[in-house]
């Protein structure tokens, strides 16, 4: 439907806007900056603070009107920065400065508009009464926990009877929209406030329910986490839908299932880290400065929560001594996994280098069992760490990590020197074992491929067919097969791709002929076989006499679908179905020959 467009001019520039838009919206499309205080895109405009006033010079009664609330009208002429406008804004800021000298945004704006000391009565209340918090809570979130109490100059924002609110859901929207940080929901919410942990950054920072995991996400489209989204939990809010310029938010969207017809399947479901919280001795989960290697990686990452700044989660200081503990859960019979996770030695060596780059005067220690550096140039890489004294490698396991006046004491053995060693560190990094990613067992069962007791998927043959599985057409790549570093993953991925291409590059595929055949003479159409066939390969075949009358309906096996499992053959009462290559007479012949 064609939205009828409204033409108006702002600062002598022609602009087209849609009905229902405000002067502020139209100005934005022209890139004209209009200051706002009580405006927020997700909250209905009130026109309360009057800082966004503009002058109407044509098309309506000449006056100062708030751009945020005044609707666009055909032929409207607006000056957004005339002298009259600047005077009004300057006086508004003078008054707000007298009321809220402490508010940063007011001080900045006042400086910009050249406000000087006026003989006004001074107050010291950060809240400039813009009403955003009350409007967002009442009209958008729908909880109405806070309200305006009183009127005139002693009007204040408060909860009923200034008591703890019994409806506040602690969403923090009020603090978010407040221009002067004058409201803190912690003071009136009956529950403690808790941030939503950003999984991508291992919970080191937080995110909103509608989010993209990381800036370079592909596809670069957000997802709404329905568990934390107010719209899905209480039915309120809907702010994202109102601000979305592309009207792309659709709360009623349901899961939908699509069918993909494919010839080959490559499984590359990756890995997860062992949950190191189970090892009491290392104190992960109890002492904030004990982190996992992935958390360490996120901290040093430039796109991480701290833009690459390394800091101790407990007090935010830079760790001067850091201890890396290897084989946490790996190569451990009880309580862990018996296999070596292969990549930890290498990435820990890398971590010591990264640590040196970040903290030049820092001291790193590594407790290791055996440094596994088998890849190309791997050993030289680790050798460099040792020769350039990036870290002190101590061969031995750590028995205990415990806090002592703000730092962590790491008590372990140094088998090369034969003694106990105790290091006071600012931070401890654990290298957890690699495990297949959660839920891979269910996937394997759906794909009917095998997996070992650790959950790693089973290759057809460890040496000869490492990227294939016992189920033809299903291939493996990456850490779902076993702990692998990136070069291995890529190599295996290309291998699996070529295997898959080998399969799908033909239009036809030859298949084992060992499938079932029905003896139509003895089949009496009881279709017991149909119930047991997992592939729906049993079809109803109609026999007709010359006149076309139906004489019998017999079972018939669809050659394409039958996999030759033989379930039907065994179930058939009249023994009318035989699996070629494993017919009963062949089996009995073999059985008869078991003894001389």
């Amino acid at each position: 439907m064609t939205e009828e467009t409204i033409k108006l001019t702002i600062d002598n520039q022609e602009v087209e806007a849609e009905a229902g838009q405000t002067i502020l919206d139209a100005a934005k499309t022209l890139g004209i900056e209009i200051p706002t205080l009580c405006y927020h895109p997700a909250v209905p405009s009130a026109g309360a603070c009057r800082i966004c006033v503009v002058e109407i010079t044509a098309g309506a009664r000449g006056a100062l009107v708030p751009a945020c609330a005044y609707p666009v009208q055909e032929g409207l002429g607006i000056q957004s920065n005339s002298e009259r406008v600047r005077q009004s804004r300057k006086m508004t800021l003078q008054l707000l400065l007298a009321r809220s000298p402490g508010a940063k945004i007011i001080r900045e704006m006042a400086k910009e508009y050249g406000c000087e000391e006026l003989r006004l009565e001074r107050k010291d209340d950060d809240c400039i009464m813009c009403g955003l918090c009350v409007r967002v809570c009442q009209q958008i979130i729908g909880t109405a926990a806070v309200c305006f109490a009183g009127r005139g100059p002693d009007r204040e924002v408060s909860t009923p009877y200034k008591l703890l609110s019994d409806v506040c859901i602690g969403c923090g929207a009020c603090a978010f929209v407040c221009p002067t940080e004058a409201i803190d929901p912690a003071e009136f919410c009956s529950n403690p406030l808790e941030k939503i942990a950003n999984e991508f950054n291992c919970g080191l920072d937080n995110r909103t329910p509608v989010h993209i995991p990381f800036p370079q996400a592909v596809p670069n489209k957000p997802v709404i986490d329905r568990e934390n989204c107010i719209r899905f939990q209480t039915g309120g809010c809907g702010a994202c839908q109102s601000v979305c310029p592309a009207e792309a938010i659709d709360y009623d969207m349901e899961d939908k299932t699509v069918q993909e017809d494919v010839g080959a399947i490559i499984v590359a479901t990756g890995y997860k880290l062992f949950d190191t919280e189970v090892f009491e001795e290392y104190g992960y989960g109890r002492y904030p400065d004990v982190v996992t290697s992935l958390e360490f990686e996120r901290m040093v990452s430039a796109s991480g929560p701290t833009d690459g700044q390394l800091y101790r989660p407990s007090d935010g200081k830079e760790p001067k001594t850091i201890v890396f503990l290897q084989c946490i859960g790996s190569r451990r019979e009880k309580g862990g996994v018996p296999y070596c996770s292969k990549i930890c030695c290498m990435y820990t060596a890398k971590h010591t280098i990264l640590y040196k780059h970040k903290v030049h005067d820092g001291q790193a220690f590594v407790f290791y069992m055996d440094v596994r550096s088998g890849g190309k140039n791997y050993e030289q890489f680790v050798r460099r760490v040792l020769t350039e004294k990036m870290a002190t490698y101590l061969r031995g396991r750590v028995s205990k990590v415990f806090p002592r006046n703000g730092q962590l004491v790491v008590r372990g053995a140094d088998t090369l020197s034969g003694g106990q060693v105790e290091i006071t560190a600012d931070m401890v990094v654990l290298a957890p074992a690699i495990q297949p990613s959660p839920g891979v067992q269910d996937l394997a069962q759906k794909l009917r491929i095998g997996y070992d007791q650790h959950g790693f998927l089973l290759e057809a043959h460890p040496k000869l067919r490492p990227v294939e599985t016992n189920t033809a057409g299903v291939f493996l790549a990456g850490a779902c097969h076993s702990p692998q570093d990136i070069p291995d993953c890529v190599a295996q991925a290309s291998a699996a791709a070529s295997k898959a291409l080998g399969l799908v590059s033909h239009k036809q595929l030859t298949r084992e002929p060992t499938i079932g055949v029905v003896n139509e003479l003895s089949c009496n159409g009881c279709f017991e076989c149909e119930n047991v066939c997992a592939y729906g390969a049993i079809e109803h075949k109609e026999l007709r006499d010359r006149e076309g009358d139906l004489t019998a309906t017999l079972a018939h096996i669809n050659e394409g679908l039958c996999q030759g499992c033989g379930a039907c053959a065994v179930t058939c009462r009249s023994k009318s179905i035989e699996v070629q290559g494993y017919r009963d007479d062949q089996m009995f012949a073999a059985i008869n020959a078991i003894s001389r």
Partner: protein, 619 residues
Amino acid sequence: MTVATRLANAGDLASLRQKILAGRKSTKIAISVCAGTGCRAQGSMELFEEFQRELQEQNLTDVEVRATGCHGFCEQGPLVVIFPRKIFYRGVKVKDVPRIVEKTIRNNEVVDSLLFKDPATKKKCLLENEVPFYAKQQRIVFRNNGKIDPTQIDDYIAADGYAALAKVLTKMSAEQVIEQVSQAGLRGRGGGGFPTGRKWDICRAQPGDEKYVICNGDEGDPGAFMDRSIMEGDPNSVLEGMTIGAYAIGASRAYIYVRAEYPLAVTNLSIALEQSRSLGLLGENILGSDFSFDVEIVRGAGAFVCGEETALIASVQGDIGSPQQRPPYPAQAGLWGKPTNINNVETWANVPVIIDKGSKWFAGMGTEHSKGTKVFSLVGKVLNTGLVEVPMGTTLREIVYDIGGGIPKKRKFKAVQTGGPSGGCIPESLLDLPVDFEKLTEAGGMMGSGGLIVMDERTCMVDVAKYFLAFLVDESCGKCSPCREGVMQMHSILCRIVQGEGREGDIELLEQLAAYVKESSLCQLGGTAPNPVLSTLRHFRNEYEAHIKDKKCPAGVCTALVEFEVDEELCKGCGLCMRDCPTEAVIGEKKQPHKIDVELCIKCGVCYEDCPFDAVIAK
């Protein structure tokens, strides 16, 4: 009250009117006792019961006693008018009842002591229209006040009530009604003066069939009480006006917003609603037509800002009364977001008359742009205080002197304040200004709801400005920064000035703040809040300078700047001031000139105000 039988059509109404009139011989004697809030405060209900008992005793059963709405001359209350001759007795006490019944009712003689004595001519006035207060008035909106009993719909019908509605429903289309009102030149009596016809037309043109009509009975202006008397004295005229308006606009529901301070108005309106519903003049298919319309009463709770249309709507919707930025105007999106037309009580009361007597008759009254009459509440330092309904164009001098009787205690006239907290003051030099929307605005005042507050030489204009700002600080809703912060700062400056701490540059700062608040505020409360200051500065700048430079209050009101002294010659030693002085600061013997002990005196100003001989002077 005839048995409430539902009127099926206009014909039934006309026959009902004939029946009522037949039952009332015009020659029959009727005693009308004013039962408006003002007179009730002076005991008029006891008077009413006394009359009934007295007539009962003397079994003068055919004499009727009627408790009517406000006559307007509240200061002389309790008022009694004896029909059919319309003998006007004022200040009637319960003890006067036997004399009145004996002499006037029985023997048609006049009780001389109860007649009104015109202070100027010292002559006694017998009939109501001889009293100067009423002589110059032309009572259109008050046509029934003082004549009918507001709680009896029959009285209203007898006085051609609902004839206009019948005419509209049977003969006129909605467009014709709007055309009549437009031609009549009726303009909003709430203060803005927006042409009513155009306002109805805009609301009518809006799409959608769910529309609302609202009667704005908030009357927040201090010093204005004409809406109260209309609602108490003639509620049916308001209902009829609203029904006609709703028919013109196409609204099916209406609300009357009555402020909390008017309980009697709520009562009388409720009675009128019940009665008109039972007669089928309200509710489903009025008078058999296909027009259905009903009215509910909605009570305010004490907020001047709720006089502003969008704040009123917010209040009706059950929220705090904070105005909304316009557009959209209420005519486009008002109550529950639907098109809503809001008019003042007095505006609605004019509508039936316009329809009844025609727009040309109405346009005949008033000036070129302001047609019809306006009810003013003449209060303050004036002899005859009360409600004055005069045609537009009457000069202020006529109102204050001819009708108002001039300034008591022979003090000099200083200014008259029009338009309440949104208006301004008009000095003596402009007394000959004819009263209409344009002229008053030019002079720096404003028509407003019609409050005319007369001030004499003993009124300090700076104090008046401070008073209005104090009022606005208290009544501002606090939503937008200019009004919340600006008015408060202006008020604190004035407080400093009246405390004697005014400094150079204060006036310029006041003017700067005033211009800013007037221009940037969200609603008209803020938009007009600086008017009192601006108009007092414009006409009485010297008084400001006196307060600031000389630290003096010429009118002797600002206590911090004034010393009270007794003028030996004038003081007659009557001892009135000594009795009232809260801190016994006045000493002196009977008949001897008294003296004020400056240490004890807390300058409460009681003696200065109450001295009958103006013997107390302020230095």
